[in-house]
């Protein structure tokens, strides 16, 4: 088990983070807005955490890291008593960074969203791609982001010998909360307005739903989630640079949502978890004894080919995604055969 966690700890954490990102793209999509801006906000969140943790909030006293905390950060760190002993950085501050990152992204999302969300369909997608690319070029050139090198040595809120899996203590609740939020949102008045806009914007506005307000709201919620996710990811990765949150990531996150299912909260999560794990799964399959050499070499070196083809053909076979509201409902209504049997006896 320890061996497994040591090997796959990082992968598992990454799966959870990607699932959150998938939710952040799903939120605007819920209101019918195809926004690919999530990686941009993800990158900003990461830089916020990287800058704050390496330059503003200083390290825990008694460790080899830097100077003592100032009174404010000490106080912040003190609110969360579960900072593991021996850690270079309090978990509490990671949470504070997530809050700040999310807040900043939310504000930026309002500024960008108000003009951009007048665009429809592919035009909005293109505008958000432009946003992500502009951010990337800025990140490569600005002093505060460390230029091409980026920011490294982001302190870990866990003892030095701990595995990345320790992050589960933040990541699991984070994903759970995000999922719960979206799940509840779908059943609320505002969520219903989102979905109505996605189904038929014209009819929805004729029924009294303000399109601009709800589109911007959905966009902002997605941005906040992506920013928080970025802040956490910066700690997980230990370093942050302009390669985080690029156009490639936009593609990938969109694929999570479309393959997983774009009409219900569980879809993006399943897509994010599964597609993040897939390359590793393929690598493992390649390692099975007895496979012909060419096949195992293809499975390991060519796994991204398979990955791409799976996305390309996945939409052909699962046009609604793997998880659809209908499938979920059927599951919920009809008890499993086992349960039915037990009920009889």
């Amino acid at each position: 088990m320890d061996q497994f966690i040591a090997t796959y700890g990082f992968l598992m954490i990454n799966m959870l983070l990607q699932a959150v990102l998938a939710l952040s793209l799903y939120l605007p999509l819920m209101a019918g807005q195809l926004s690919l801006a999530a990686p941009g906000f993800f990158a900003i969140g990461g830089y916020v955490a990287a800058v704050l943790s390496t330059q503003k909030f200083l390290a825990v006293p008694g460790t080899s890291y830097g100077e003592p905390l100032n009174a404010f950060t000490l106080w912040l760190a003190g609110i969360f008593p579960f900072t593991p002993p021996g850690a270079a950085y309090p978990i509490g501050l990671v949470l504070v960074e997530m809050g700040i990152g999310g807040l900043l992204c939310g504000i930026l999302a309002v500024v960008i969203g108000l003009p951009a969300l007048r665009l429809r369909g592919i035009y909005l997608a293109l505008a958000t791609i432009a946003f992500v690319e502009i951010l990337r070029v800025l990140a490569l050139n600005l002093p505060i982001t460390g230029g091409a090198i980026g920011i490294f040595g982001i302190p870990q809120p866990f003892p030095q010998d701990a595995t990345k899996f320790s992050y589960a203590i933040i990541t699991v609740p984070f994903l759970a909360l995000a999922a719960w939020f979206v799940y509840r949102l779908e059943r609320s008045r505002v969520g219903r307005a989102f979905i109505a806009l996605r189904e038929d914007e014209l009819a929805a506005t004729a029924m009294g739903i303000d399109p601009t307000y709800h589109k911007v709201l959905a966009f902002v919620m997605g941005a906040v989630l992506a920013g928080m996710c970025g802040a956490l990811s910066a700690h997980v990765l230990n370093t942050w640079n302009a390669r985080q949150g690029t156009f490639d990531a936009s593609i990938l996150i969109l694929a999570y949502v479309i393959i997983g299912g774009s009409r219900v909260w569980l879809g993006p999560i399943v897509g994010g978890l599964f597609l993040t794990a897939l390359p590793e799964v393929l690598r493992q399959v390649a390692g099975i004894d007895g496979l012909p050499v060419w096949l195992s070499s293809f499975l390991s070196d060519g796994r991204l080919i398979i990955y791409g083809l799976l996305i390309a053909f996945g939409v052909l076979f699962f046009p609604q995604g793997v998880v659809t509201p209908e499938r979920l409902e059927r599951k919920a209504k009809s008890p499993s055969p086992r349960a039915a049997e037990e009920a009889v006896t």
């Binding site: 502009i134 060519g302 990955y307 046009p319």
Partner: protein, 316 residues
């Protein structure tokens, strides 16, 4: 800026701009007919460059399945360029047959086609890497055999030196632009193509086999994409399998600037962005790659239909 420098920058801009233009035409043709952006176009661009590279008889690097492989023959550059582009066109055809047509037949949301094209891009890029590794390849200087590396259009006192490669690229792209424009505007098939782009249902009521024309569109799109890939590869280097992705993104800026689905718009957009990038003051060169996207973003907000596009009335 001195006049000669300015002229030189303009020529450079025009040269790369015309490559942007033919590349963007590949996007815009497919968009005008299917209403989707084919994100695999950047990967097809890369493929074209690699095909031509192989066809000139050049040797591959140490990585990948084809390590150190080399064709037993070498075509002259111009021939290799067109054969390579033709192969890239066939890849486009394959993508349409295997994916886009079945998706259309199921009445799939355009979003699905978009995601599917992204998947194809990932698969193509990694296929390249699988076979020939991720090294940088540059065309051997012998491809432009006999031509001097640069030409001076000025006087010895006031030189106006242009790299021969820029000229070659500019001329080839302009020829392709002219031929393509003639084909679309003056031939029967071109007329049918425009009809399908405007209204595919009505076109089929006129006896046009829309599926076949869509296939042709994918071939042309892949072909011009492949040409652009080779030309950029010739001008700089082939920077690896991801060569086309960044270029592909820039192509998006070009077509939005001109107006999605608008053919003259793509040409205009390409040239505008090519020149804009080359006129950038040297202090801002680091931001060169952001120029296209800044233009894209601003154009979308101010005039989403692009420079030459028309507004569409929403039907209630």
């Amino acid at each position: 800026m001195e006049l000669t420098t300015l002229l030189q920058q303009l020529i450079n801009g025009l040269s790369i701009g015309s490559v942007y233009a033919i590349f963007a035409l590949g996007y815009t043709l497919i968009f005008s007919i299917l209403g989707i952006i084919n994100f695999a176009h950047g990967a097809v661009f890369t493929l074209g460059a690699y095909f031509t590279y192989a066809l000139t008889g050049a040797r591959f690097g140490f990585n990948g399945i084809f390590a150190e492989a080399q064709l037993p023959f070498g075509l002259p550059f111009l021939l290799a360029l067109f054969v390579g582009a033709g192969l890239a066109g066939l890849v486009g055809v394959l993508v349409e047959r295997a994916l886009f047509r079945p998706l259309r037949a199921r009445g799939a949301d355009p979003l699905l086609t978009l995601v599917s094209s992204l998947g194809i891009a990932v698969a193509l890029v990694n296929t390249i890497q699988y076979f020939v590794g991720a090294e940088v390849y540059s065309f051997p200087s012998s491809v432009l055999q006999g031509l001097p590396p640069s030409v001076n259009f000025g006087t010895p006192e006031a030189p106006l030196v242009v790299r021969t490669v820029q000229l070659v690229i500019g001329v080839i792209s302009l020829v392709i632009l002219v031929v393509l424009t003639w084909f679309i505007n003056r031939t029967k098939t071109g007329r049918a193509l425009r009809a399908v782009a405007e209204d595919s249902t009505t076109s089929s009521l006129l006896g046009i086999n829309t599926d076949r024309l869509i296939l042709l569109t994918f071939f042309i799109s892949g072909f011009v994409g492949g040409i652009a890939g080779t030309l950029v590869g010739l001008s700089v280097t082939i920077t690896g399998p991801y060569f086309g992705i960044a270029f592909g993104l820039k192509g998006l800026a070009v077509i939005v600037l001109g107006g999605l689905g608008n053919i003259p718009g793509a040409v205009l957009g390409g040239i505008v962005i090519g020149i804009a990038e080359n006129l950038l003051p040297s202090s801002a060169v680091a931001y060169k790659d952001a120029i296209a996207f800044a233009i894209l973003f601003v154009v979308l907000l101010i005039r989403p239909q692009g420079l030459l596009g028309r507004t569409q009335v929403q039907k209630v």
